[in-house]
Subunit: 743 residues, 2 copies
């Protein structure tokens, strides 16, 4: 069920720099709390309704209403005596934390960057004429802020719509693609982006509002170009804040177990800084940048400007996914603890409806902050009542405390944010560990980080996502493979390269290819086979054809005689009439029609012609297919071609350890025919080897047909047929497809 | 080596509709022939130089020059007597075929669509004032054609640059991603696009030149809207041409083996149509659209306008890849036949340099046509001399025959193209077969086709490519998995679902998961485990914790006594003092600190509290990891968490059939510790089962510790510790990553 929860007090968006520190997390927190509680309640409802379902058919209509508005379910049952105190304590604590301490949230930053790029300061320049002598251009902050709120609420609406669609399409699984290394790289890039944006405020240096590709780099460059304009009062205040905050946080961390509560250094610093700024009148005396005015009150509901949607589509997509991913991952912590499950798609729908609703009340995109959720849970919050109370506290803070904070230097707020970035930047230390553990994961981290800095967070996330998926394809495409042999006197087959004393069965090669065979790696698979067997089956076949043609020519010319017992050279074994074979590719040679006779030759003995036919030292190739988890049509066809290529040079291909559904797939794709039969399939490699050893033994008793050279005259044009068939139609499956393009 | 070949006669681009039929394939053909010959020559050079390498150190400088300009190598050695006749015959044949018969090439179409979109007719409207009464707007064809030639040559240059970069970056492998189904869908979409473009000409109906998304649909709609404007003379000529061409082609095909050469129906139709059009003066009498003027002569070298590059980047990318893929796949046919190898990256470099060079001579993007390559090869072409001769024939045709073709109706040319599309459209018949064989491949086909029609060929190809890769990810992500059991009295383990009479060992579950475990499917893997074992390890643990707390409470209240021999209830077994456990989630219950005592309970016997703890009917889980071809860091960590989750509910996890490098990866990622030891790894599933059966036997002799309920008082806060650790830190690896976003 996807009720939008009690998002009933739509507060406006405060001034930009402030939004990081005070306001945004509150609503997301609230949203999460409500969801969490709702979930608990829904489960209770479900169980109770199951217990009563026999007797309450008349109450069903009311049940549906309750599912839509869970408050109808839990509020009447609220155990005032047991729960109210906990809820109040929890609500007040959470509210205070939310007001006073605000770790930076990624979603704020992402929304901020969209707002800044679509409504930069430059759009709101007006000539100032407020009594001063200089007629400088000023920024119309009122108009700017209205425009920005409009953009943010339109963005919220669009994010909501996207989330609702995602939920409807059941693609909650998309979050699974945000792997650790990707998230690590992405958040570090986000921290870097925040650092630059806050650095500008700490130094009180004005820059243009860049957006799009490389904007963060341009901003950084401009900050350093204008570093001479630094306002010393702001800089010193900021620097002091950073140093003090980081030092105290370090102490908090070190003496975690010895002090009852961490020192709320941000609050202390903010109060002191406000007092100093007010006392010393830093704005007038040192031209310091102060917060000045925090707008109060709430905006009335309004229709967000739908016309902005097309401009913010890409960013909304990223924000929708990131906001959702954060919330679900936090939710899962508590789902695990309290033993309920989260339906990913349902959450998408719930967030979607929340955000669509919020979009009309000038709200901000909702997500979740772990730290404050933890506060509510650990201080004993029981129901949404705690959420409502904490929202009330924040509302009071916005209405009352805002005025008091007006003399505060902006650089102090920025410095507080910077001091909280340390943890994010410390993620860089993960890279060496990742590199040691898995190079590809390290590359994903670095790639996502760099690309998010260069392209911006939205495009960067998308690029990182696609890159991550590509690495999966590459890992599947370039698998490990091994030639195998048996550990002596066992049925265990291991890599001949990595193990000592591995026995390779006589005349047999065993290949294990650890990956599905699909269109992306059929070539690689062929190379592995070539490298394992030590020769190229096509080349061997072509060389044999060539030698055959020469022999036929010699027979025709009477220089050789083909008898039942072999080929007899009339001129002795050192026949000078043979033209020297320099292995040149004389095309005419190959074009000579050679249909007249077919002979059988023992290719491993010395030939009467000097054609360099590669020796084939094996009679069988066993493919261990235990790790082939799927095959596509290209894969099946290549496998078929490979078997045929080996069959025509008298090497049999056997398959071992295939899974049942892979064999089914082979059948569906027409893999089997008269030459490729199912009796080449074995349950294990050892079964195949035992069978082959048996075969060899039974053949040794007979006269080996391979050692006789026989003349067969009855099927005249087989040779020519085979050649055409294989070079034009079967040899390369992929190329065949390509050639349709060229026809 | 990447010599640009002898592309020395830069011809200009003829009029649009003509370019499909007559001119383009010639240059590609030439380029391919030259490459093919160059390859043969290079191999010869290599071998010869190897043989002479001892004696020719002084000749090395000249050797390098020869490698750069292969003609220096082969021309002096040209065997005039043997080769010249073949080359002339082959060259003339190829030249005639290239001139007279031109199946549509995909690359022409792709270039055409870029040219049309960047220089549509509307850009060249001028008020006509050439003596007529009506002051209508006319198209300035001269200016238009000059602009189009400029665009095409800039495109050629850019394609060349991209190909050169691809070759330099060694990404020839990209062609492997163009799978059969993708190529099938793409070429069918291309054929559809050609059909629509030619339909317009056959009907002689004018439409706007749409470009971008859905342009082909808009064009089609506009053709039908304006179908009343059809020129009957053109339509009838076109229709007749289509019918005659298709009928004769069908006959050619059916009597392939009975007639010496296929009837060149295109040539015959063209000649007859030209004669009729000239004789009946169709242009004047019926306002038919005729070819009118074929520009003659060649353009001087010129710098392509680099400023156009940014507009054509996406299209160039597609064209570069497609052109290359076509050429390489055709080349491979002959590489296989004549036993040489093609270096994909080298080909990229060669094509790149060719196209860069051509770009300065107003040339068209080069690729290869299989049909004419086959003609040259089968008519006995030996060297590039044949290529030069065939190019000469085409040049003569352009210079001389062009004039003669001027009265030809455009609709006849268009109809010839349409008649040749049949084969492309017949590819649709592949879909049912693909669907039967492999549903995913069928979906790729249909997706690529639809998307290429909707988005256009360049974006469509890209979308199809990405979609194809995503299907690979999805196939890896959602693998098949099975609970296994043994075939009685064998060491063979098969799926319990698909086989009858499978024995599952007592108290053991065996799971085979046929895929790598990576960030995309860790959740799926967990679900498979849950479904195989029949319970949720986390839920079991939480329920046990809850029951433990209740027991502790009862012990504290004196209602239960914990002794060495078990828990003794003071109020008898039907104790009414127990509060009924309705399985509600009372958070307070869970928050009660329960550090005081720890007890050990036999979870499979009846509990003294009414907590519904799921039964765990197994003591071991064996994972058959034979098909796990890789693991990433997320995968390793999840595996670790899974083992820990099972260990804390007294189920041991064993691993079987792991490949060596996967075990190495586990080691690198810190998988092993005191609780997860390597002695849980077995070579095969059967080994693991034998070990487990042995273990059970040896335990049965002893007093089972599971049957006693013992009170242990000495390690007081273990419970609390375990809980925190597992819910907060270890339970879900992915969520942990996500939570960094929320902190």
């Amino acid at each position: 069920m996807a009720a939008p929860g009690g998002r009933s007090e739509p507060p406006q968006i405060p001034e930009y720099s402030c939004s990081y520190v005070v306001s945004r997390p509150v609503y997301s927190e609230l949203a999460f709390q409500q969801q969490h509680e709702r979930r608990l309640q829904e489960r209770k409802t479900l169980r109770e309704s199951l217990a009563k379902c026999c007797s309450c058919s008349r109450k069903r209509a009311f049940g549906v209403l309750k599912t839509l508005l869970p408050i109808l379910e839990w509020l009447p049952k609220y155990r005032v005596k047991e729960w109210l105190l906990s809820d109040i304590v929890s609500g007040v604590s959470t509210g205070l934390v939310a007001t006073l301490q605000g770790p930076f949230p990624v979603v704020s930053l992402m929304v901020g960057s969209v707002v800044l790029s679509m409504a930069p300061d430059e759009h709101f320049l007006v000539s100032s004429s407020n009594g001063t002598v200089l007629n400088t251009t000023m920024i119309d902050t009122a108009a700017r802020d209205i425009a920005r709120v409009l953009i943010a609420s339109a963005l919220t609406l669009l994010v909501g719509i996207i989330q609702l669609i995602f939920g409807g399409l059941q693609i909650g699984f998309i979050v699974r693609y945000l792997a650790d290394p990707l998230v690590g790289g992405f958040t570090t890039a986000a921290a870097f982006q925040v650092l630059v944006s806050q650095l500008k405020i700490v130094l009180n240096v004005s820059t243009k509002n860049y957006n799009g590709v490389l904007s963060i780099i341009y901003t950084l460059v401009e900050i350093f170009q204008n570093i001479g304009d630094t306002n010393l009062a702001d800089f010193i205040a900021g620097l002091l804040t950073i140093v003090v905050c980081m030092a105290v946080k370090e102490l908090n961390d070190r003496f975690r177990h010895k002090i009852p509560v961490p020192i709320p250094i941000e609050v202390i610093v903010t109060i002191i800084a406000t007092a100093i700024s007010y006392g010393a009148n830093l704005e007038k005396n040192y031209n310091a940048g102060i917060v000045k005015s925090i707008p109060r009150g709430f905006l009335p509901p309004a229709l967000p400007s739908v016309s902005l949607f097309s401009e913010m589509l890409a960013a909304s997509f990223s924000i929708a996914v990131v906001a959702y991913a954060i919330a679900v991952s936090v939710g899962k912590v508590y789902a695990t603890k309290y033993d309920y499950t989260i339906d990913g798609n349902q959450e998408f729908i719930a967030f979607g409806i929340s955000n669509i609703f919020s979009g009309f009340f000038s709200c901000f995109v909702a997500t979740t902050a772990l730290s404050r959720t933890a506060v509510q849970e650990s201080t004993g919050g029981k129901t949404q009542v705690a959420g409502i109370i904490s929202a009330g506290i924040v509302m009071i803070a916005i209405l009352a405390l805002g005025k008091l904070l007006e003399p505060l230097q902006k650089s102090v707020l920025a410095a507080v944010v910077i001091a909280n970035l340390k943890g994010m930047f410390m993620q860089v230390c993960d890279i060496p560990r990742l590199w040691r553990q898995n190079k590809i994961d390290a590359v994903i981290w670095v790639f996502t980080c760099i690309v998010s800095i260069i392209l911006g967070l939205d495009l960067g996330l998308l690029a990182g996502l696609v890159f991550g998926l590509l690495t999966v394809v590459l890992r599947v495409q370039f698998p490990s493979w091994n030639g195998l042999g048996s550990i002596p006197s066992t049925d265990i087959y291991k890599s001949t390269k990595n193990y000592k004393n591995i026995e390779e069965p006589q005349g047999v090669k065993i290949l294990r290819f650890s990956s599905p065979i699909f269109y992306g790696n059929v070539d690689g698979f062929k190379k592995c086979i070539k490298s394992t067997v030590g020769f190229d089956a096509i080349r061997v076949y072509n060389k044999r054809l060539k030698a055959l043609r020469k022999i036929q020519k010699l027979i025709k010319n009477g220089q050789l005689r083909a008898t039942k017992n072999g080929i007899i050279s009339d001129a002795g074994s050192t026949n000078n009439a043979f033209e020297p074979d320099e292995d040149t590719e004389d095309p005419e040679e190959l074009d000579t029609p050679t249909k007249e006779i077919e002979i059988q030759v023992d290719w491993n003995s010395e030939l009467p012609v000097k054609v360099n036919v590669p020796k084939v030292p094996i009679h069988s190739l066993v493919l261990d297919c235990g790790a082939i988890s799927f095959l596509d049509v290209v894969g099946v066809r290549s496998l078929r071609v490979i078997v045929k290529e080996f069959q025509r040079i008298d090497v049999n291909v056997y398959f071992a350890s295939l899974q049942d559904y892979v064999i089914e797939k082979l059948e569906q794709c027409g893999f089997f025919d008269d030459n490729i039969r199912k009796d080449t399939f074995f349950l294990t490699v050892h079964d195949a080897i035992l069978y082959l050893q048996n075969q060899v033994k039974s053949q040794e008793g007979q006269d080996s047909i391979l050692e006789t050279i026989t003349l067969i005259q009855d099927c005249k044009d087989t040779l020519e047929l085979i050649e055409t068939e294989l070079t034009e139609e079967e040899l390369d499956v992929q190329d065949e497809a390509m050639r349709t393009l060229a026809s």
